[in-house]
Symmetry: C2
Subunit: 193 residues, 2 copies
């Protein structure tokens, strides 16, 4: 998506350690007009599919998912919560996700009331790097018996391989920008064609 790539080039910052900061428009300050256009793109890509629900993970995915939902007939958006601890009272689907940024595992939960076997789910998130967070969301869908119809991502770090692994497993991953390489010294970013 040209608009997003240009925005990343203009307002993104490449840091050492494979970090791409896009907090000017994506995950601290949010450009809702851009989010709307992203939703339009995903709606075009997933047009042939039945989507009954959008599932994302707090916090950065929520705004993007809520803006995108308009383009899928205002389907409900459910955000998986990062929990302090896993509550074993049985009314939640739970998994754990390892965060490389925070260097620790954290529990992720979705209430059983809001995800079930009738759901056709579109997963949405801001970033896809190694794919750990998405694998967690997929696990929650499997636990609920829900089908994963597709995955919409704003920024995929192609060089970290998570997206291609998901594609090899048969998932329809629509990343609106795929960074193939980036250079913290020059700030240069190369996108996949």
């Amino acid at each position: 998506m040209k608009e997003l790539e240009e925005r990343i080039r203009r307002d993104g910052t490449v840091k050492t350690g494979d970090v791409l900061k896009v907090d000017a428009f994506l995950n601290h300050q949010c450009d809702v007009r851009l989010f709307d256009h992203m939703g339009q793109e995903w709606a075009r890509h997933f047009a042939g599919k039945t989507i009954t629900k959008i599932l994302t993970i707090e916090a950065s995915g929520i705004g993007i998912a809520c803006c995108a939902a308009r383009h899928f007939g205002d389907v409900p958006v459910v955000f998986a919560k990062k929990a302090q601890s896993i509550n074993l009272d049985g009314d939640q689907y739970t998994t754990t996700v390892y965060s490389f940024t925070k260097r620790k595992e954290f529990p992720v939960i979705v209430s059983k009331k809001y995800l079930d076997a009738d759901d056709h789910v579109l997963l949405i998130d801001d970033f896809l790097a190694n794919g750990k967070a998405l694998h967690g969301l997929i696990e929650l869908c499997h636990a609920a018996g829900a089908s994963v119809e597709g995955i919409g991502i704003a920024v995929e770090k192609g060089f970290q391989g998570g997206g291609d692994k998901l594609r090899a497993q048969g998932y329809d991953v629509d990343s609106l920008s795929i960074v193939e390489s980036m250079n913290p010294e020059t700030g240069e970013i190369t996108f996949r064609d």
Copy 2:
């Protein structure tokens, strides 16, 4: 706002300890059509004011704020982040907020890049009870020299007093529903007229 009150009556659950669960449509599963209508209501209420930015706090405020932003000319939405620890490198405004739900204080930050003295800010959040989170957001605005033009709330727990304290301080608080009392035994909820 009739639609929201009816929805709270229908899908909300009153729990002991002054807890009102609205995770079916507000803060776990999100009804984006309702969020859109809420944005319309706030836009009507704050119509005479210049709003250049919406400020909220992760995680539950983000979806509501992003849907509301359309009705304010697609102004940027900034969400304050709950940090693990306060980073004193000087590029962030920081404060601490005490959470009664989690029974602890946590640091809240906004990057100095995304809030400044030129900003006319609308604060948006899902709940207003004692007002601790909002006071944190107001403090961040004051630190930035930004003016707080108004406060848009989905559910105010009127009996906890935070909203009326803010009104007494001169803030224009537009709560779309104000719960005056609720009964965990009967499930009955009374709204302020």
